[in-house]
Subunit: 284 residues, 4 copies
């Protein structure tokens, strides 16, 4: 479909929907999908609007720039995205490849409108997979003293390749705070537990020791608080007493793959809006 996605949030007041919808209708565009949420607690309005622009009576550029007075009068933050669209995405990995594989496979199938610019690894285990898929692989040393310099190199790659989204696909490194702050809302991580349970290292070992009956995975935006950013998606799987940590790892991989893939898909389709430490997610 030729069209636009508008994401907008602003202080709540009467008539917002009428104003936005009228702006669209006045330009002979058509609202295909209108998703809205009003947060009473914070008096905030959030919306995602999918607009068919095939009958638009002005140019796309004029339609987008013409929204400015309305947006400003609502004290809104807003963003238009032209469809079809492929988000330029870098994937950061360490050793394990199941999340990378999942992303590659779903991208190939057209499930996720992304263009993978490169795979970046602090180990080279995933190099072959990346290259078989025709995607450049960068091996970056993050060990010991190389850590700070390594993240500077990653930043340079992201900049050179015009990356819009960075996915941590079981990237087993804690990001420097400056890196998190630089890319607020633009880094998605998969954590291999049902957060906020089992923050940090070895969550399957922790889960085994606690004897939980369900394990999970959490796809979330990265902030400088470890495993503390806004949650996009979570998946769980039932486990039993006879499952050892390695079984939890095996079963958990399925949760990780699903939760990460769905989280990315929601983000790149502009179905998420971050508000403070929570993610509003309009389902697809």
């Amino acid at each position: 479909m030729q069209g636009l996605i508008l994401k907008i949030d602003c202080p709540d007041q009467h008539g917002i929907v009428a104003k936005i919808a009228s702006y669209v209708a006045d330009h002979e565009a058509n609202l295909c999908e209108f998703s809205q949420f009003t947060d009473d607690e914070h008096s905030k309005f959030f919306a995602r609007v999918e607009i068919d622009t095939s009958d638009l009576n002005v140019s796309l550029e004029d339609f987008i720039s013409g929204f400015k007075p309305l947006g400003q009068s609502l004290s809104a933050s807003w963003h238009f995205r032209e469809m079809p669209y492929q988000m330029r995405t870098a994937v950061l990995v360490t050793k394990t490849d199941h999340c990378l594989n999942e992303i590659l496979w779903r991208t190939k199938l057209g499930e996720m409108p992304i263009k993978i610019t490169s795979v970046i690894g602090n180990r080279d285990n995933c190099q072959k997979i990346a290259e078989q898929a025709g995607i450049p692989f960068h091996h970056i040393n993050l060990d010991g003293d190389h850590r700070e310099k390594g993240f500077q190199e990653i930043k340079k790659i992201l900049s050179d390749e015009n990356v819009e989204l960075t996915v941590l696909a079981r990237f087993m490194q804690i990001l420097p705070n400056w890196f998190c702050d630089e890319y607020t809302g633009k880094i998605i991580n998969i954590h291999h537990s049902f957060l906020p349970a089992f923050i940090g290292a070895n969550p399957y070992r922790q889960a085994h020791e606690r004897g939980v009956k369900l394990i999970g995975a959490t796809c979330h935006y990265v902030t400088s608080e470890l495993d503390g950013g806004p949650i996009i998606e979570q998946e769980v799987e039932r486990v039993q007493h006879f499952h050892k940590p390695k079984d939890l790892m095996r079963l958990g991989r399925d949760c990780e793959r699903d939760a990460l893939a769905r989280g990315i898909r929601l983000h790149v389709n502009d179905r998420t809006i971050i508000h403070q430490n929570r993610a509003i997610v309009f389902p697809d």
Copy 2:
């Protein structure tokens, strides 16, 4: 909240959202929740709108009647409901009481805005439960030759008690076609299988024989096609080879209670719109 729910469906065209939202805004009312679905295949628009009317600049009556020209110009079907509201609901039962219990309990807790007018049973097993809850119980004979006359009696009760919704809470009788037709979209049933699997009698026995690994329950609107009406909600539960039919019944009861309660709640909150043989369900 003092307010209105508007349910509307009409042929799709440009500007519907703008027109509806502007009508609301022009009368100083506020859209609290706007849920919309466009069915491309049938070129149909469906919406549910929750409106805060505390600042309304006309009377509620004038607001509702004033919508008529707009509704007609859209060739729409629409319905306004004033909140708060309790839907007058009759519950039909036979022997088992778990679904009735669930409805009583959730109603008491305020989860479901209904007023139970009476419980109607073709057996008297549930009489005590109804009466303990302070609800009239009607015992209607539907056996053999009494069937037709019995359903006429039920119709009279529904009419006398101004019933708006009839819930079949494990009512083990097939309704006459004329009864289904009389109350289209106003009878909700719980079927104890994951429809369309295991239509008809003894679904747990059927499920056991087929050796399924998940059983379920389906809450649906009743039509004259047996177990064939629009589905509102479904629940499933994992089962294993060692579960006998009586275990499936036990585990299935949990699905039945949940699916029925959620289905009723969605209906009475006007979150469902029936279109042909499918139910559009705006989640809550």
Copy 3:
């Protein structure tokens, strides 16, 4: 069925199953169900055996006492229970009644082989429900300075009524350590979160603030570590950004009812064995 349940655990060694099964076979009893788990990490063997004793060639008493030499030679802990059986169970409550209702209803249906000896509340909100079900209600003051004395009174009731299992059905009080220690493995609690996430008070508020996409409930044995005892069962429910804490409470109630009922059922059917801080659970 007339029969026995044997629960046993011992250090792992060759031939345990052969010895136990031979003991049963030598007395013309029949193994109906044999569930076994070997914990390699701790070299421990656990089993639950359901035995049909209708053809037994000795008295039940002799069969049970005759097991002693074998049990001792295995350095085992073991326990026989005669079936049919009803476990004498006290239910502790505060204000909310949904868990109590669930237990009453499932007990009445025969889903849980328990005899509810009494309901004990530090508020009287559940008194009417208990009494309608024909169950004594004890109102115990646990406020402020009365706390210690109150728990002594509860202990006396449990003793006078020969209570074997105490269920905390949304009992909003932290138990004294001495009380936990007195009834190790004999108190079951339902915590209204997916433990170990959201320990302590107001888990639904915590869950809302963290923005999780799934909420849950955890049925566990009580130990002196708050919400830290062995987990028997957990349930989760998907939630969305628009759910307020009161919606999480509503949706969570369903998890609580299910997880608690299943946990109790597993315990009273001797399907759980506590090992350190984990519960081995043989499914039913």
Copy 4:
């Protein structure tokens, strides 16, 4: 682990467990895992026994052959498998590759002890994937008049390659009856619906038209009755009114991949026993 898996079924009688376990113990072997099920309805006993043979006091061959008198005295069917083991497996495909990919990936990770002998397709879409994984690909024409001859060719391949298990990984062809009969219990299919709902072609289209709220996938053994064989595993996924058939296909793929992979894993670990039209499945 060096060891054996014993699968056995026989008419129920007293003392079976004692006899089997004693046979194991008498030869200084150790029962690691004992799973048993007694089907009261059919008076049948089923078991799966995992045996550590590292301390065995006879040769493996003698242990296996020495079981014969006991097996015969129980009128049992039984089977021993030596571990570690890789089941020789052929994968049949048509156009879509997600199930094939899943099998390849999990095999590579060591989740499924199989050796993929070849991929056989009636289209060549999956040829490249197979070859990249270093697996032979056979393109067999099954169109129109070639069908019968094509299945004879497939039979020859299965025979030449000593195939023990044939997996239909979205193989869109109905097998000839003689083929089903030839490989009873040795062909596993993934059907893209929650059977027995939506048998046959286009289940996602059927599901969309019926307006179900959950879709699913079913992994089952193939018999000559279309989509009617013993079910090993089922998965479901929640869907909503706005999901079009192509969305159901997308969401369903996740169910298909999971259900098929788990079904294969259960089969190759000898955790399934077929009894009439049901599969007993000892969980892992």
